[in-house]
Symmetry: D2
Subunit: 405 residues, 4 copies
Amino acid sequence: MGAPKKVVLAYSGGLDTSIILKWLQTEYGCEVVTFTADLGQGEELEPARAKAELLGIKPENIYIEDVREEFVRDFVFPMFRANAVYEGLYLLGTSIARPLISKRLVEIAAETGADAVAHGATGKGNDQVRFELSAYALNPDIKVIAPWREWDLTSRTRLLEFAEAHQIPIAKDKRGEAPFSVDANLLHTSSEGKVLEDPAEPAPDYVYQRTVHPEDAPDTPEHIEITFEKGDAVALNGEQLSPATLLTRLNELGGKHGCGRLDLVEGRYVGMKSRGIYETPGGTLLLEAHRGIESITLDKGAAHLKDELMPRYAELIYNGYWFSPEREMLQAAIDHSQARVNGTALLKLYKGSARCVGRWSDDTLYSEQHVTFEEDAGAYDQKDAEGFIRINALRLKLLAARNRR
Amino acid sequence: MGAPKKVVLAYSGGLDTSIILKWLQTEYGCEVVTFTADLGQGEELEPARAKAELLGIKPENIYIEDVREEFVRDFVFPMFRANAVYEGLYLLGTSIARPLISKRLVEIAAETGADAVAHGATGKGNDQVRFELSAYALNPDIKVIAPWREWDLTSRTRLLEFAEAHQIPIAKDKRGEAPFSVDANLLHTSSEGKVLEDPAEPAPDYVYQRTVHPEDAPDTPEHIEITFEKGDAVALNGEQLSPATLLTRLNELGGKHGCGRLDLVEGRYVGMKSRGIYETPGGTLLLEAHRGIESITLDKGAAHLKDELMPRYAELIYNGYWFSPEREMLQAAIDHSQARVNGTALLKLYKGSARCVGRWSDDTLYSEQHVTFEEDAGAYDQKDAEGFIRINALRLKLLAARNRR
Amino acid sequence: MGAPKKVVLAYSGGLDTSIILKWLQTEYGCEVVTFTADLGQGEELEPARAKAELLGIKPENIYIEDVREEFVRDFVFPMFRANAVYEGLYLLGTSIARPLISKRLVEIAAETGADAVAHGATGKGNDQVRFELSAYALNPDIKVIAPWREWDLTSRTRLLEFAEAHQIPIAKDKRGEAPFSVDANLLHTSSEGKVLEDPAEPAPDYVYQRTVHPEDAPDTPEHIEITFEKGDAVALNGEQLSPATLLTRLNELGGKHGCGRLDLVEGRYVGMKSRGIYETPGGTLLLEAHRGIESITLDKGAAHLKDELMPRYAELIYNGYWFSPEREMLQAAIDHSQARVNGTALLKLYKGSARCVGRWSDDTLYSEQHVTFEEDAGAYDQKDAEGFIRINALRLKLLAARNRR
Amino acid sequence: MGAPKKVVLAYSGGLDTSIILKWLQTEYGCEVVTFTADLGQGEELEPARAKAELLGIKPENIYIEDVREEFVRDFVFPMFRANAVYEGLYLLGTSIARPLISKRLVEIAAETGADAVAHGATGKGNDQVRFELSAYALNPDIKVIAPWREWDLTSRTRLLEFAEAHQIPIAKDKRGEAPFSVDANLLHTSSEGKVLEDPAEPAPDYVYQRTVHPEDAPDTPEHIEITFEKGDAVALNGEQLSPATLLTRLNELGGKHGCGRLDLVEGRYVGMKSRGIYETPGGTLLLEAHRGIESITLDKGAAHLKDELMPRYAELIYNGYWFSPEREMLQAAIDHSQARVNGTALLKLYKGSARCVGRWSDDTLYSEQHVTFEEDAGAYDQKDAEGFIRINALRLKLLAARNRR
């Protein structure tokens, strides 16, 4: 791989990516294009522009974009159609944001004639894989630069020295080391490292940033209604909302009631286990509500197949294979199932828990006439069950008779 | 199928199975053996003996047994090794009890020379299937009698008339119809039917029997420690306990904190959807704790395979195939994975939620040395990640290049 | 289920379905509509018209249709996109024809105002299930009549008596019993029963009807080229052909060279095992060629996912769930994978075997530049493999270190 | 990774591994231990001893072992219990030999105090992965040296120069380049590269080494009987044989009749596609026979689960994960299913094809009584099928009714 000539950098405006920006300029002597995305991480973006300019980036090379609607509509919602959870629990908040960032990096590279993209993920984590597999899948000729795997700035001290040597402003609170590492977007906030590295130790309270402590949540439960069309949430309490707006509101509601906290140890794609604290308030509500609507609108043949495919689907997203034929195949199957997943779920939020306690739909498959303990007017002939059981038992009986021999 | 000569009846001592008992005697003129099991449903068993005697059952034909330890050790625990949930949520509390009952029915039939077994499940539900598939799988020649599918006692009025005509005592509170139908054992209580038949309507408070309302749970969280050996819980807060005792304690703890409530619509094996309220206080804690211990002791290769196999495994149990070669094959795979699933999980219980907030094990695979953000003394070479990504990307790049053509 | 008023019967014109026709008339006093389809079974259809008229069917109630193109295009080809084989070997030739017949039965019922459909499958086989599940899935209100499960014509003698009593002409060679039972369509011929009922005994030579004995096949191999577009065969030896024409030609070629014979014991959906002799000459060539083209045009991520989904997909078709949401979901995934499955496979046919010995495509993913043992001009950096292996090994190393403890 | 002090080399005695031997000595100045295994590749092993001695290896450091029985018993047979084929066709002949070699390398390292192992696989193939993952899984501290990824002997010329410079004898026929690359063991022979690199071109006849051309095979079919116990072949034509002896005989039979040739393009784990010619004469017979016995002794619940798990299992072996918890979990499931897979399969071998044409077993599940077209004496009540179908149809009917709305 020859040296890059022009690099599009995923740039947050923070100290680390500013150091990367400067390092790219000095190490490769290449032109740098910055891409700063509003994924709902809750930070101002315009300071990133000022900082990029300060570091010598040409105005036309500074891309600052609000991609929240695209993020929720084209990435978060398709994933929630699958009820995806990784290792039984994790809602993939970080994983699902990476392909979108890579997609824009590659597109901006094409627009600006850049031959490379760069990111600030380390060599130990999953994000490097997600960024890079996405980039290569979208442009097989792109170069990817991962400074954390390349440079020799391997300690906090050396990073700060590099920053000072290159006139990169250092906010006072960035001098010391953060007690843990954070990633955030509209779907979730994750916290890892440092004080969290002993998985036996409960996370300190101050780690949680987006959800109140359940103990501090309102003493009165709150009921909300989430309405779905074709598997996607479209309204909250009867009010139609855009994808990102809806998720924002769900985050507020979930956060207020202390919902969506997760403390877990996960198996990284690169082979080690890591401990993370995840807060996914809105996503937790969304998953519960989506399962609720599916429970009355999906036939069990479709529902069970979805459940069987889900772990693979979630693993693919976790591992960075959003832009892969197998993820797309699974998506095609999942999306096919959602055509009639319409209706409304009623959730009860209370001190850390979100439970679906009611659900209704014009497309319901629930038939009170069939299930009733009361007289069913011939909807169901109980005698049929005898034949059903006897035929299903036949192979087991043949087996039992054989095994006696 | 010729008429049965001697029938072993799953007998609760309640009105319905007493009517069945009498009906078997009058309809078939056959001898009846009663089997009453303590599965932890929380009812006295000795009244069943008195009632059976009153109905003319010979003392040697009355079997009353406490099977709680066997239930938890040989059925509940193996199932929890798999983290089994049906349709994403249901912990299979009713499903897992049925094979044990059938097993004892068939064994007692062999001991007493009976040629048939009988149960009190209706023709619309899953339980008939579970009872009968288990019975046939254990004895291919056994006859199974399901009175609810056969008789003409199709209304409450006719049932009561039959009872009165045959001097079956009717408790006063059984004259009217129960507002919903209940099944209970050491793992869970389920409620279905009647007032619960509209899935849009939240369940009335009085339906919940085993868990306090989260709003009424203690205002202070409680932390507990569950210790596992080879995937099975063996101790609570450091105290070694037998399987049934442990689950009983967990039920108390979970119930006290309002944990394990579930309101859902499920797809029955017989094809209709039904709405159920499930309370699984101890099981909910057990699942959370087991996942917590697995997260540090199971390699992700094993863990992900388990997650992929789980929905099928759960479906098999739900559908009544506990005694099937495919369930046993999956169990063999699951059990193989549990050899080193040892350790302790710390749970926080609070007003309806149970979260694992810490976990430790002598068999942990978590390596702080590898995952640390700090200097790792060469445990991990970040440069390796580049090759890892580039090789994994190769097929995606070839694909992208082809798709451009 | 009330008595049917008007029934659409799947009518072959043979003795058995003629008896059914008459039985429907006499048993239910209902009007009968006949549907006779040319699925490529190799029999004249017009005699069925004459016979139906003879049995009193009104001309407007006689439907005779050539559905061969629809059969191959909409049923056989979608199934072959999946490389579907049941229990490792069976190409599902009978299974795939049933949903099409049911679809037309239900459509004709709608056109003619019939309230029921009827078929001539017995109560022991899979076909009854396939016919009926398809019918119910397409019209939940349709009645289905399966005379073999209902009537008392349970011996050959009684059938013949019934035929004679109702002036149904009996061909001389139908007086005695056939030595085995046959089903045929454009995809395959199956033979079952009677002389084939001992699975230890090789099938007599005279059972095979559609393929020459390999020993009698030409002594010289023949090479053919099959061209695919989007996963479907479109040309043979460079000549564009319609689906049914193409399959017809492949049948001739395969039959001539003794290809596609199968002698197996299969597990029926209804629980018993049965032995069948299948001849699928064209389908065998098609499968081999399709796998050949996929081998160069499908990425392994897609290909392996297809392989994992296939057994389920095949089972669904075998069991009669063509018209089910889960089959459609799998089809959506499979079809998504076929967008670039274009190209030509070269097969060698010789005395019973058909092997792909060459394959090429404008959409190939095969890169001689990457795979070559020669100098590859930097297409692949072998050093990347070290990182790839080391990262993939990390979890195994952590595991090995733990297991030593 | 520091320099190795003592290395155990997988040594064939051929030119390439002799060069590696010398290179290890000169590059690292380390002591070399050679391991030469008879896996049934059909070459004399003693010349390897002489050559190793000539290259300065101490006699006690020369390990030459016949591992054929272990290979077949502990690797090939367990794999065949699963009916494993990769990408629908490949019987994994090379893949399954690698873990055994690595196991012995690691064991010999422990015996001899070596800190490293070395192999002669290139950086483009799968074998490097298989060798190294196995080694790391068995000893997490072992060093692995892969000279082809490290050295600069990147052309034939430089290799020969190195050999001459170090007095490594070069057989005359090794001066020029082989027209393709070969791997062989008791299970198969694979040929790759050079003349085979264009997948459109049929392989030249001279590539095939182990099977006669079907055109040259005997004009008379041969029938053989293979007997299985617990899923493993134990006898041929009634004669009990050890695993390796049995496979050797099957190779002779299959080879004589031209069976087991495969020409395919496969997706390598490292991401590229490669074309291979595989000859697996005995294995092809074994697979056909094993499926034949399973067809009468395995319940379809077990059989279908096996079919669904198989592609993953095969992929794991192909990718080098023999020694992984997930392969072991699958093996546990598969082995559980084989307890009653006993019986004899009759195969017909003829000019390239091997077909099972009969099978029998004391453990058969085939019940002529149930399946017969004749009177079955009440073994099966056809009326049961109606209930079976109606219950299975219920969800489809509810769905159809909903979809009409």
